[in-house]
């Protein structure tokens, strides 16, 4: 079954969609690797974190707490809160994954970071019925291709950053390439007026609520944007067709 997944044309499509963005996220992973080493983690700890945690924002939030010897539950609770946006994504993804056994759902969840979530729901705007095997396989293959590309570029770049930590000055700001990658994806999603409204409201709310601890401003921003868009939708409108344009 794994081979079938790798040979499916949608697997290559998933790789192809993620590839150009990977240059930006790799720059981000690189700087995360540099930051982990510069903060004083041991080489083994930095490599372990770079390979298994696979969540940049929680890595950056947890690193200073680890070095300050904060209690473990504080560190894990912090990471949980920083990651709360993923719980929102999981509510969206649930109907796509429920046909899978538990272990497979957990694997799918683990590898579905921000960009994979965005690209997957863009490419496959609607979940399909569990009887439609061909479409399910296409969705699984797309997700797998996207995740593989995303994982290798992020982890590879993190390891490179760990190796070159003393050669790459933080003040160059290479990590900004990651922001530009996300900005490109944002532009490609801005295909309807309400989506532009969603981006505007979320951006403004994230700035206004920035003082909240634990990156909770991101959660507030998503909630505000979704609420405003639901109010602005005309009553009785059919669900927005994601991915119809761009």
């Amino acid at each position: 079954m794994t081979a079938a997944l790798l040979l499916h044309p949608e697997f290559r499509q998933g790789v192809r969609d993620m590839a150009p963005v990977a240059a930006g996220t790799a720059a981000w992973g690189l700087m995360t690797g540099v930051a982990m080493v510069k903060s004083g983690m041991s080489l083994f700890e930095a490599v372990l974190m770079g390979v298994i945690v696979f969540a940049g924002s929680s890595q950056l939030a947890a690193t200073p707490l680890i070095l300050a010897s904060a209690p473990m539950w504080v560190i894990l609770a912090t990471a949980f809160c920083v990651n709360l946006r993923f719980a929102v994504f999981s509510a969206h993804l649930r109907p796509y994954f429920m046909h899978q056994p538990l272990w497979r759902r957990l694997v799918s969840g683990y590898f579905t970071a921000d960009l994979t979530y965005v690209m997957f729901t863009h490419r496959h705007p609607l979940p399909v019925s569990p009887d439609d095997i061909a479409s399910l396989r296409a969705q699984e293959a797309y997700l797998a291709g996207n995740c593989v590309m995303g994982w290798f570029s992020w982890v590879g770049a993190s390891l490179l950053g760990i190796a070159l930590a003393n050669a790459i000055p933080m003040h160059w700001g290479l990590g900004f390439a990651g922001i530009l990658a996300l900005l490109g994806i944002l532009c490609s999603l801005a295909s309807s007026r309400l989506r532009v409204v969603s981006a505007g409201v979320a951006g403004a709310a994230a700035v206004a609520a920035f003082a909240l601890p634990l990156k909770l401003n991101i959660l507030v921003a998503i909630a505000a944007a979704v609420a405003v868009c639901l109010v602005l939708e005309k009553p009785g409108m059919p669900p927005p067709k994601a991915g119809s344009a761009a």
Binding site: P20, M72, G173, I185
Partner: protein
């Protein structure tokens, strides 16, 4: 200087990644979101991206920047400009960094 406590914490962080990313599909008890919530979630991906990006472009150390002499503003404009001129995310990154690095390293913006 590796210690067991830190290694356990790092494994804990990986488990947190799994739990948060799988949060609503860990349980297989059947339930569905109300229709309005399902509609609303279609606006979530772009909102999440925007919420992550915008503060990184217009804020420094928790404060809205008060100057236009910031390399990030020009780089973001260049990136968006490229995107709507040519499409393509790689070009957006390259155009943005081509503006960002000289302003940031050269002029210290």
């Amino acid at each position: 200087m590796t210690d067991g406590w830190t290694v356990m914490t790092i494994f804990g962080l990986a488990i947190v990644t799994v739990i948060t990313r799988s949060f609503f599909f860990i349980s297989s008890k059947p339930w569905t979101l109300p229709a309005w919530a399902q509609r609303g979630l279609h606006y979530a991906p772009i909102a999440a991206l925007s919420a992550v990006i915008i503060p990184e472009i217009v804020m420094t150390q928790g404060q809205l920047i008060a100057t236009w002499q910031d390399a990030r503003l020009f780089a973001a404009l260049a990136g968006v400009g490229w995107f709507f001129w040519r499409r393509g995310v790689l070009g957006t990154i390259i155009a943005g960094m081509a503006v960002y690095l000289p302003l940031h390293i050269g002029l210290g913006w």
